[in-house]
Symmetry: none
Subunit: 204 residues, 4 copies
């Protein structure tokens, strides 16, 4: 049990199964994937999976855990320290767009799909991904808003709006929007300008 070598082996096997699950889920979707599919992809027996995970939903939850870490690790607070507003917004937008819009997209699609429909997953997703993002975003804008004398209510809505934009763009992208596929890399800049300057002709 407490043998560190043994623990490593177990952790490795767990990871191997989770890799297989992620890969298969991404390919066929959660409901169309069978435990047998995952076992085959992982090169283990069906029963083995139940030595590492309680059941099929637990696999998806574990994948969500992993995604949580990936998102968390992609944020470097130090990096945000000396940026001006535009840089800040640009960075805030760029991270999730890159983290979730890249190769993890197929998996994110499956997770989000289940999150929308499964209460347990929804709760976990909110707690681990959405809430931290909201709070992080609010923190960033709070300071700036205080200087401008804006009510905190606005900050909260602003954060939601920006997060929504990110989430929605990823969804649109997942659904196959060609314009987004082509211009994905330009988005952070474009959106930062949009959010900061708006589109309005304020001088006329």
């Amino acid at each position: 049990m407490s043998d560190p070598v043994q623990e490593q082996v177990l952790a490795a096997r767990r990871a191997q199964i989770l890799d297989a699950a992620a890969h298969t889920f991404a390919e066929k979707g959660y409901h169309l994937t069978t435990i047998k599919d995952i076992a085959r992809a992982a090169g283990v027996a069906d029963g083995t999976i139940y030595l590492y995970f309680a059941n099929k939903p637990a696999l998806l939850l574990a994948i969500l855990d992993r995604m949580t870490e990936a998102v968390r690790d992609s944020v470097d607070p130090a990096e945000l320290a000396d940026l001006d507003l535009r840089g800040l917004v640009r960075a805030t937008l760029g991270h999730p767009l890159r983290a979730l819009g890249g190769e993890h997209a197929e998996l994110f699609r499956v997770v989000l799909s289940e999150v929308m429909v499964n209460p347990v997953m929804r709760e976990q997703f909110s707690q681990r991904i959405l809430t931290p993002m909201s709070q992080g975003g609010e923190l960033i804008f709070q300071q700036w808003a205080a200087q401008r004398g804006l009510p905190p209510e606005r900050t909260r809505l602003l954060t939601r709006a920006i997060m929504g934009m990110i989430l929605g763009l990823i969804v649109e992208w997942i659904l196959g929007d060609e314009t987004l596929t082509t211009h994905w890399d330009e988005l952070p800049d474009f959106l930062a300008d949009l959010i900061i300057d708006g589109i309005g002709d304020t001088h006329s």
Copy 2:
């Protein structure tokens, strides 16, 4: 067959089944709902459902059809005619937020969940909801963009960003964000201001 009264009866029964399906899907999700569940909810026998719909997926598609009509009917072009930019944006945002965020939300959740994972549903959703919205949005901004000398590319991205914001906010709201639940009605105004003016300190 061609008896108009009989046709009405059949249409009513179809609607009755579809109502039951929508209700049950919304409650338990698509995959956890059985045909028996729907039949019971509709007060008909299992087999009766197959007189009106080819199979289970067809029920979901029919629901998507219904949603399509609901969204389409909620837009009144005449209403948009003499609005200024701010009013235009406000209206553009308000419609889908109300149409999909209101009572149809539970259903929208199920549909979107399946759309993300099921190619057939995705195709239909893109064709019937997303593409019309994109084109409508682009049309609206095109004229305005032409006056400002902006490249059409920007118009396209702008449309996506705004649509994304709408979609993402609905998703966030579905996932249970309290701030959004509380301030849902203020969103159109708030977002219109954000999009037109931006948050930036333009005078300094």
Copy 3:
């Protein structure tokens, strides 16, 4: 009820349904044919069929009845009267080979298939087709056997052997034997020679 015109109409409708059933059974087989298939082919409603036939098996039984008549009608006792042995055998063989091997074959296939497995059909088939054929055959050979001083036992076996040959050849033909398809018309002559002369080299 006793209105002769009305009776004609009813008989015609019954025949129309039976035609449709025969046609559909022949095409798809008994078990793969649905009442709806037959109704469509007959141009009537599903329920109408039950006004003329008790249930699905009854349709097959009625078809067997029809086949019985067809076989019976194809035999003309007068024709057999002044034939010599060879002619007699030839005629005896030719009739069923033509009656069941021709266009009725598809239907005969279905009937025989069900006869082999369904006790009720088997009983009927034996009573109406097999037994009459046996008795007819025995009658024909009896007289001839008596002249030769053969025991009646032999006559009975001989009849079975010849009937078996006919039945078996039809089955082989149904199963797609090419040699038989090509030489079907020569069979009566060939078989008559075989049965009468044998293949043996009787002089050596």
Copy 4:
């Protein structure tokens, strides 16, 4: 997988299921037999059957395979080597009459019934049973026919006629002919005489 003991166990279970299927099919017919029936008869769970057979038709095909082997094993070429014509014909007839007419008859009935109606089964039956029998028979008669200067065409028809006689007699027997039931054992001798000598009064 490659454990020979385990393989034996699996083969035994497969046989056990196939036995149960054969028994139940023979009793109730193919279409009236449910997977549950077979499972119960085999003493296993429904799902277990699908670990050994792809689906219900596969069970029937496997039974056909078994019958093929039984027929093949019943033929001993060496035994036929030094027989005269009469002995040869007698042996040729006796084998299938015993192989298919004995205890396998019930099963043969079901198989033949389905063969007549199901293209896949028909193809398999032709390939595995009918064609080998034809070719075997042709081979046997060819040599003899060559000596007599008969055209090969006749040999082919002769083989079909004899095979047809066998097949047809089995069918008649299956359908419950009492004369055949009583005199089944005498058939090979009787038929051999009939085929070789014919019934004709060759001297008159």
